[in-house]
Symmetry: C2
Subunit: 170 residues, 2 copies
């Protein structure tokens, strides 16, 4: 038997306090239920990757930037951003055409995805060269990658910024 | 900007040769499409976790063993096991009641999930103490965690073995 997941465990302990209640769909329903989706309401018609590893692979192979959205069902700010995000045509179009997409309710063990800490909602862009775009920030000094619904134009502008790749390969 | 994802990249390069063609659902469909599911056909009525981090958290907090299934759409052995797995009532019942479930088409960066290499289909159990159960193996010496459809009874027996937890907490 192999032991050695403690570093992962430490990260989990760090985030587990945010999870006061389990997700609705993890309750044991006896009735036939719809399968869970990767979109989680952020845009059902978009293609969402499952894991960070998959997302990096697809960003690199498609030469498209990756947008990682950290969120929580129990967080009203996350829910408000999701509504805005899912219902804005410009965002949905750009997300679908120009981005690899990943939404996560659990943190990864990669510290580069939390340049100034773990909080939600948090929007991090990753260049297809696999460089985290820590330079693409929102307007809050204490939570650089957070956006409120009022910051929609800034998010759109930052998506456009992320589309300008760091390296252009022929 | 932060650089430093090279270790992840190396893992990705190692597996990328397996991915000759992209998944069907990543092609740009203009028609309304159904959202992608976490079950991927391994049991639509079961609750599937999204990421390894989430799966470990849920295994630990629920004190249930985790079953991780690595598979590929393009692999006929994976497809055959999926058919068997999804249609076997005993497996589906036990999976739904007693296990935290994760199916992955991309490898994680955790080497403990690949005790004897990265191949598919591969069934790895993890105890809720977060110990990979490298002792629970199939019948193939060169691919210890692979199962063929003919090995169904062994898989069921191994699921029962995984249910006997390493540590029993009161």
């Amino acid at each position: 038997m192999v032991k050695g997941l403690m570093s992962v465990l430490l990260v989990l302990v760090a985030v587990s306090s945010s999870f006061g209640k389990p997700e609705k769909n993890s309750s044991a329903k006896k009735e036939k239920k719809l399968p869970e989706t990767l979109s989680r309401g952020w845009g059902d018609e978009l293609t969402w990757t499952q894991t960070y590893e998959e997302a990096l692979f697809r960003a690199r192979s498609s030469n498209k930037p990756l947008m990682v959205i950290h969120h929580l069902d129990a967080c009203p700010h996350s829910q408000a951003m999701k509504q805005i995000f899912a219902n804005n045509k410009e965002i949905q179009k750009m997300a679908g055409e120009d981005f690899i997409l990943l939404n996560l309710v659990f943190e990864t063990s990669d510290k580069h995805l939390a340049p100034d800490g773990q909080y939600v909602p948090r929007f991090i862009f990753v260049d297809p060269s696999l460089t985290v775009r820590a330079d693409i920030t929102g307007r809050y000094g204490n939570r650089l990658y957070a956006y409120e619904p009022a910051d929609l134009d800034l998010l759109i502008s930052n998506m456009k910024k992320a589309k300008k790749l760091l390296k252009t390969e022929l």
